[in-house]
């Protein structure tokens, strides 16, 4: 099996689906000849030509608005928003239109599309090249939200998302775009939406996370077991909406302790939903409060981003608080 990084896996998924299904088309800023500022669409313009891959004018609301129209007409558009930080001009089209199309039309009109966008910090991008807006979309009924953490899942989840009949926000962890490498099967395969993965078994505490925080969580778990003999279970959610409650509860009931890790600001972040739901459904199994290690409630900084982002130190601290509660 070839070893790919996440960008190559995304690129491969797009190629595989575009070969399989004529209706799959790609549009966005710089995605054509240039192949995308992160190279995720490299080679697609050459292989599939100017009738399936387009550079667009600089207008996110135009990209998403017209992609919705393509979906209404029967295509399977995969628009790219160059950075998640720039998705807001399209916010109305996403939350008021794409998300509600099926419901408001009594199920008669659907708009299957996948909005790909790189998210997250750690690349010295400051305010506007580092944001993690997933909670906005999880809070919006009608959207699925998917965030892979490795090449294998990235390809399988993207293919599943493209074949899904609902609008999907597909957020790619740009910090580990190239750093995360792994074996990726040739051809088409899917990783089912809505299924989390226990990426490390453990007994003392459950770390719940997704995307670029998965490697950080795993490193912390390794260190904790080496240095303190603490056994942490690590769950990679992979899909945030709908998320895999069963896997979460199963683990938390076993360990009795949970810490949630994400880059987005803590307040009203996705971790709040997980903590609230775990408490609602597993209170009597909890030996300690569910703690959240998240980005601070500030705009995303530049120089001090490594202090802003959840890091091993902060996860360890939450772990200790939980264990010593």
């Amino acid at each position: 099996m070839p070893v790919y990084n996440i960008i190559q896996a995304v690129n491969d998924a797009l190629r595989v689906e575009m070969r399989r299904d004529e209706r799959v088309v790609v549009l966005g800023e710089d995605v054509g000849k240039f192949g995308g500022v992160f190279r995720a669409t490299q080679g697609l313009h050459e292989e599939f030509g100017p009738d399936r891959v387009w550079d667009t004018p600089l207008a996110e609301q135009g990209i998403i608005g017209s992609a919705i129209g393509m979906a209404l007409y029967g295509l399977r558009p995969v628009p790219e928003i160059q950075f998640a930080d720039f998705i807001y001009p399209a916010f109305d089209q996403i939350v008021n239109e794409a998300a509600k199309m099926r419901y408001r039309s009594g199920g008669k009109v659907t708009c299957p599309m996948v909005i790909r966008t790189p998210y997250g910090g750690g690349i010295r991008g400051g305010h506007y090249h580092s944001q993690s807006p997933e909670a906005y979309f999880v809070h919006t009924p009608g959207l699925k939200v998917v965030i892979p953490s490795n090449p294998h899942d990235a390809k399988g989840l993207l293919i599943a998302a493209i074949r899904d009949d609902n609008p999907v926000i597909f957020m790619e962890p740009k910090r580990i775009y190239r750093a995360s490498r792994g074996e990726v099967p040739d051809g088409a395969y899917t990783v089912g939406l809505g299924k989390a993965k226990v990426v490390r078994e453990g007994t003392h505490l459950t770390l719940i996370t997704y995307g670029a925080m998965v490697p950080t969580a795993l490193q912390t778990a390794e260190a904790a077991s080496d240095q303190d003999g603490i056994s942490m279970e690590v769950i990679d959610l992979r899909t945030l909406m709908p998320y895999d409650l069963e896997t979460i509860l199963h683990s938390v009931r076993k360990t009795g302790r949970a810490v949630i890790v994400h880059e987005a600001p803590k307040t009203c972040g996705f971790g709040a939903e997980l903590a609230a739901t775990i408490n609602e459904k597993a209170l009597l199994h909890l030996e300690a409060p569910v703690y959240r290690v998240a980005g601070f409630d500030t705009p995303f900084p530049y120089t001090l981003e490594e202090h802003y982002l959840p890091n091993q130190k902060r996860i360890r601290r939450a772990m200790q608080e939980s264990l010593s509660f």
């Binding site: 088309v25 009738d51 399936r52 387009w54 667009t56 004018p57 207008a59 609301q61 135009g62 998403i64 608005g65 017209s66 992609a67 919705i68 129209g69 393509m70 979906a71 209404l72 007409y73 029967g74 295509l75 558009p77 001009p89 109305d92 089209q93 008021n96 239109e97 509600k100 199309m101 099926r102 419901y103 408001r104 039309s105 009594g106 199920g107 008669k108 009109v109 659907t110 009924p141 009608g142 699925k144 009949d165 609902n166 809505g194 709908p242 409650l245 069963e246």
Partner: protein
């Protein structure tokens, strides 16, 4: 100072064929519509007018919660819709009932939507006038102003990609042209030369905001130049002129000639909706002036003058129309509300665990309610 690039100095013709008195403008070629087509247009306009009047009464009586009509704009709407082939998509704003009726939208379905009842095609989920008729290639109506424009451009773009020789027609108001969605939609339409007709019903008002506050440009049509599109101004109360320019724009689109921006100059004779009282912000004189340009009366005069129609025919048609409305209204009003379970359908193609849980919770809490609500 340097000679700036002063577009607004240019004259902008308003295309006209049918005069308010029902006669044709000098030199204008008569519409190439046969009597059958002419009468279909007229009957649709009449139906549109009477349904609007009746529904406003219904709202005043508290039988429906809200209504938004198209009084005075029927020619702009029906004349343009009739210029498309039945398989070509129409992406509406919220005032294009006439276009839907022209395509055969059953009154019963429409009334059920107004009541939001169990037979409402959109399952009682949207306000009155916000239906969706994909089976008639008529898009889902949404309240946010302008959102349908880039969507329609995307549909036309898709039609081009798939080599269908189809045009798409999208409707919007003068107020909508101020939105970013108009700008990006028109710009994409120009860049990708998509087969679309952008039809702006310039009815001079956006609720209480007059056109003069909406933009400082001389017209909507002139905005076409910002996108490399052709811009056309047409008398929106003149069904022949509207039909002809739209047909030509649609034909141009099908043949790969790209997009056209049509400004149908018309007037919103009634309040914005039943929630509005226009006397608070505009002079009666203005309204009176436009009442004199009534598109329906104008068309009727023409038909009678040409011998296609008579006062007797008209009275008969009026009766039939009223009857048709009464019959379906009665039926529709009898239908009960949707079952509560329907609240949870169609968020996604399937019900995820959290919605199953919420449905269950709702079921248990509402107990009786479910029974009550069965249709």
């Amino acid at each position: 100072m340097f000679e700036g690039f002063e577009v607004n100095a240019m004259p902008q013709p308003i295309i006209e064929i049918l005069k308010p008195d029902g006669s044709l403008c000098k030199g204008a070629d008569p519409p190439d519509l046969n009597p059958k087509e002419l009468l279909r247009l007229y009957r649709t306009m009449l139906l549109n007018r009477r349904v609007d009047e009746q529904m406003v009464r219904l709202q005043r009586q508290g039988r429906i919660g809200f209504y938004i009509g198209s009084l005075g704009e029927e020619a702009a709407i029906i004349g343009s819709a009739a210029a498309l082939a039945p398989n070509e998509w129409i992406m509406p704003c919220y005032r294009e009932l006439g276009a839907a009726l022209y395509r055969g939208f059953p009154l019963f379905d429409f009334f059920c939507q107004l009541f939001g009842n169990a037979r409402d095609p959109v399952k009682g989920r949207q306000m009155p006038n916000h239906y969706a008729i994909p089976e008639l290639r008529f898009g889902s109506i949404s309240s946010p102003v302008g959102t349908q424009i880039p969507q329609a451009v995307g549909m036309a773009w898709a039609a081009k990609i798939l080599n269908r020789k189809e045009a798409v027609l999208v409707y919007f108001g003068d107020g909508a042209t101020s939105q970013g969605d108009f700008h990006v939609g028109a710009n994409f339409a120009g860049v990708y030369e998509v087969p679309i007709v952008l039809l702006c019903r310039n009815n001079q008002w956006a609720i209480s905001v007059p056109f003069s506050t909406q933009t400082a440009s001389d017209s909507i049509a002139v905005k076409a130049s910002a996108y490399g599109l052709e811009g056309i101004r047409v008398d929106g109360n003149d069904i022949f002129a509207v039909h002809q320019v739209t047909r030509q724009a649609a034909e141009k689109a099908r043949e790969g000639g790209g997009a056209t921006l049509i400004e149908a100059v018309t007037y919103r004779l009634a309040g914005h909706s039943t929630s509005d009282d226009p006397r608070a912000y505009r002079p009666d004189a203005e309204v009176k002036e436009w009442q004199g340009k009534d598109p329906l009366l104008r068309f009727k005069r023409y038909l009678i003058h040409e011998g296609h129609w008579s006062e007797a025919d008209d009275q008969k048609a009026e009766l039939e129309t009223r009857k048709a409305i009464q019959v379906d209204l009665k039926r529709a009003e009898k239908v009960g509300p949707p079952a509560i379970d329907t609240l949870f359908e169609d968020v996604f193609d399937q019900l995820p665990w959290h919605l199953q849980e919420q449905l269950q919770n709702c079921r248990e809490t509402e107990e009786g309610a479910f029974a009550e609500h069965e249709v």
